[in-house]
Amino acid sequence: MELYHNITINHYLALSAVLFGMGALGILFRRNAIIMFMCIELMLNAVNISLVAFSKMWNHTDAQVFVFFIMVVAAAEVAVGLAILMMLYRNTHTTDTSVLNKLKF
């Protein structure tokens, strides 16, 4: 359905899919833990875009509240994740995740 002039819900879903795919590509492509973290943020944002578009489509606020809670969880996740990253750097003096191969089969 048309959200506003000539732009349908499918446009927003396509944008969301592209951003999500780029986030996944970044996680697979890069080995720097900070960049991988930022890619996770990008994927969360891609999902948020589609939720807000659905909220406009159904004229309902629940999806926007959901986006709000996703932001809350993302903020908590970044706080803990960056603390883990600091500890990783303190122990290995790098943020390259390819040094973390103890679990490798």
Partner: protein
């Protein structure tokens, strides 16, 4: 008409700066590209009538989270260009897997024709306002809202504990 151009403009900005975030070598430039992406996403929220979310998005992401990222990069002194130790084969596989995921998602979106037959009720321009969202948040979603504060407390304790000097 204007909002249509705004959609395309914001989408291109978001996608290209996301690509810049992935493919630049310097982590500082990656953070700055991601901030541009977040501003474009906030613009999309405005276009969709979610004013409150657009403001919160800029405050939380560009104002707090990305500053935290920059702060960590500063403290670890990561801005020097460090060559990642990876062979070309695994990089190519990563790009292929990500590209295939994007392609499958786009193909799935393109086939959702039934979404176009939906006709929602009259559009309420006030839906994404602070007043309306506040009413919903403090009435229907009061319990999750309060639980979020417990989550933040746990995250804060965890972050402080993890960054202690004498820990393992």
């Amino acid at each position: 008409m204007l909002s249509e151009y705004a959609f395309w403009f914001l989408s291109f900005v978001a996608v290209f700066s996301a690509a810049g975030m992935i493919f630049t070598k310097n982590p500082v430039y990656s953070v700055l590209s991601l901030i541009i992406t977040f501003f474009a996403v906030a613009g999309h929220y405005f276009l969709l009538g979610a004013q409150f979310l657009a403001a919160v998005h800029i405050i939380v992401y560009a104002g707090a989270i990305m500053v935290l990222f920059l702060y960590v990069i500063m403290m670890l002194n990561l801005n020097k260009l460090e060559e990642e130790k990876r062979n070309l084969w695994s990089k190519a596989l990563g790009v292929a897997a990500g590209g295939i995921l994007m392609f499958v998602l786009l193909a799935a979106v393109q086939r959702t024709d039934e979404l176009n037959s939906i006709t929602a009720g009259t559009y309420n321009a006030d839906m994404g306002s602070t007043q309306n969202l506040g009413n919903v948040l403090y009435r229907e979603f009061l319990l999750p809202f309060e639980l979020a504060s417990v989550l933040f407390l746990g995250a804060m304790v965890g972050a402080v504990y993890l960054s202690k000097k004498d820990l393992a």
